[in-house]
């Protein structure tokens, strides 16, 4: 009898994610593992991990990985991919890493059309450092460095990386997804798979942004975070394909 549902080969039996209960990081990690197996590319995959909660991957998944300087994942991926164009190279980054300290690296890798895939987890907060304001923190949302809630007049509005990248010519595929419902989890997996397939076909730069939660630093139970997301994050960052030019590129 064939086993239909099984652990991804890159997540061993005894693996401990280290992610907080209810956090969508673990879901996305599982989905990446499934996609790598379905595409049968573990033996040619190199993952560039950011600094942030995403760094916890290094003990979780069993594929070749590098943990690099905060914000520089897209630059590192550029250097690696240029030297080994036949490998599948993806970055795994939080929103602070991608959209604050690493905004230049992200925009320029996208603008050059580097043939890499970016997976970013947007949970509207700095998780690992203990709940500081992120570039994506909602207006009014409290964080340790905006104790009275994010104030537009003080720090501006949440940064929309997808829309910024959508002003550039080179990116091939940009999609915003979430893991808040079973249907959306399926869409997230399909988006990751499409990004990797495009890269393997040499089509160019893709980014998948996963709108995510942070029960610990939002001070909400996992289920309550889903309600909060629906009211706030998913309104600020609506899900869907922002750009898909995969069909136009041979």
């Amino acid at each position: 009898m064939e086993k239909v549902i099984k652990r991804p080969s890159t997540i061993p039996e005894n693996a401990i994610s280290g992610f907080c209960p209810g956090c969508m990081h673990s879901t996305v990690n599982k989905l990446i593992g499934e996609v790598l197996d379905e595409l049968n590319v573990v033996d040619r995959t190199v993952e560039i991990i950011c600094i942030g909660c995403g760094t916890l991957n290094l003990k979780y998944r069993e594929n070749d990985q590098a943990v690099v300087a905060h914000g520089r994942a897209c630059a590192v991926a550029t250097g690696y991919k240029r030297c080994n164009p036949d490998k599948l190279v993806f970055t795994y980054q939080g929103d602070g890493d991608l959209a604050s300290i690493g905004i230049a690296e992200t925009i320029y890798a996208a603008n050059r059309g580097e043939n890499i895939s970016v997976i970013t987890i947007n949970n509207a907060i700095y998780g690992m450092t203990g709940g500081q304001m992120a570039p994506t923190t909602m207006l009014g949302q409290k964080a340790t460095t905006c104790p009275n809630g994010r104030d537009f007049n003080d720090v501006g509005a949440p940064v929309h990386m997808m829309d910024i990248l959508n002003t550039l010519k080179a990116p091939v595929y940009l999609e915003r997804v979430s893991c808040n419902t079973p249907a959306n989890i399926k869409k997230t997996k399909a988006a990751i798979k499409k990004a990797f397939e495009y890269q393997l076909a040499g089509k160019g730069f893709s980014m998948v942004e996963v709108i995510s939660n942070c029960p610990t630093n939002w001070n909400l139970s996992p289920l309550k975070t889903l309600e909060y997301m629906k009211e706030h994050n998913l309104k600020e960052f609506p899900l869907g394909v922002v750009r898909d030019r995969g069909g136009e590129i041979k």
């Binding site: 995959t45 190199v46 070749d64 990985q65 630059a75 599948l88 690296e105």
Partner: protein, 354 residues
């Protein structure tokens, strides 16, 4: 083999390509723009990749990525640009990733001056980034020596799995001199070097363990590096000791200033003054022994010549001399290039006092 007359910056890039460098990333800054420009033109011809990074920080991290693949890779910059790259140097050292960094010094601090200086000695040798790592730092004093050092630096980087620096100044990068280039490595040799790096990331093969390379460190990794640095101090120091045996006046200088100091020693000798020169060829590890073994019953004074004010290498010279002779300085800075006449005048003035 016939001599070519080439600019220092071009020579650096050509030597790197011949040494098998197949990736370069950098950001424009004077006085080292000839280096990225040469790579942009010639690296693709050699099957390599050149990227003009969006910043110094991005560029050094691209080099980090290239090194993860086992490819011989390099960056170059100048003073304030080197400061921006220091984050990357530290990560390369933590991850034990080989790479070559060419630092072309100009005036400082701040944006200083676009003209030549030796203002970043302490940064290069003591703290090129956070965390207490060290690099082997070459300090060539002619365009020919720069070529030889760049070529060799790739071997050192691979041997020790560590970033390796070639420390120059804007004189060497912009001047032209006759040189002879070493033979280029063949494509097969370049590939063999890449393939030999079994630690490089290539994708986990079935049955293998995954490879993980991080910019992190542990006490254990700190101790391993400390052992390596001690090994360098014992086995890798390199200095030119010129006419020091009977010398009463020991001049010391590195890089551009050293070639000036050598000319001063020759002039002084013709005038019957017993002068000699200690020229660190590597400024890290520093050749303390060259100073320790001097006959201090003869040495009246050690004279440190540098193109930076206040002097920086003097900190190391002090550790070599250990108070056994007075140390004096002849200095210029911020684009005022040391000339033979200026150095000779300064040295003679000091000699008159002894």
């Amino acid at each position: 083999m016939s001599r070519a007359f080439v600019k220092g910056g071009d020579a650096i890039a050509e030597a790197a390509i011949r040494a098998g460098c197949r990736f370069f990333a950098g950001y424009p800054i004077t006085p080292q723009n000839e280096i990225p420009e040469y790579f942009a033109k010639h690296l693709p011809e050699a099957g390599g990749s050149f990227v003009q990074g969006e910043s110094e920080t991005a560029s050094i991290n691209m080099v980090f990525g290239a090194s993860l693949s086992g490819t011989r890779c390099m960056t170059s910059s100048s003073s304030c640009g080197i400061s921006l790259k220091s984050e990357g140097f530290s990560y390369l050292a933590a991850a034990r990733l080989p790479s070559v960094i060419c630092s072309v010094q100009r005036g400082g601090p701040g944006y200083g001056s676009i003209k030549p200086a030796q203002s970043d000695y302490l940064q290069a040798t003591k703290a090129a980034g956070n965390g207490g790592f060290k690099m082997i730092v070459f300090a060539p004093s002619t365009v020919q020596e720069t070529i030889d050092h760049i070529y060799e630096a790739f071997d050192y980087a691979d041997k020790y799995r560590n970033p390796t620096m070639v420390l120059l100044d804007g004189v060497i990068s912009t001047m032209m001199e006759p040189v002879v280039f070493p033979e280029p490595l063949t494509e097969e040799q370049v590939q063999a070097i890449k393939d030999s790096k079994t630690w490089a990331l290539n994708g986990k093969k079935a049955g293998d363990k995954k490879k993980l390379i991080t910019g992190g460190a542990t006490e254990q990794s700190n101790m391993e590096c400390a052992e390596m640095y001690e090994y360098w101090a014992e086995h890798e120091t390199r200095a030119e000791e010129y006419l020091v045996e009977d010398a009463e006046f020991i001049l010391t200088a590195y890089g551009t200033t050293a070639r000036v100091a050598r000319a001063v020693v020759d002039t002084l000798r013709k005038e019957g003054i017993r002068a000699g020169l200690i020229r660190p060829i590597l400024v890290n590890p520093f050749p303390y022994k060259s100073f320790a073994k001097l006959d201090y019953s003869k040495v009246k004074c050690v004279i440190d010549l540098e193109m930076t004010i206040p002097a920086q290498m003097i900190e190391d010279v002090k550790l070599g001399v250990l108070g056994k002779a007075p140390i004096r300085t002849v200095l210029r800075s911020c684009g005022e290039v040391m000339t033979d006449d200026f150095a000779l005048g300064g040295v003679k003035k000091i000699i008159e006092e002894y």
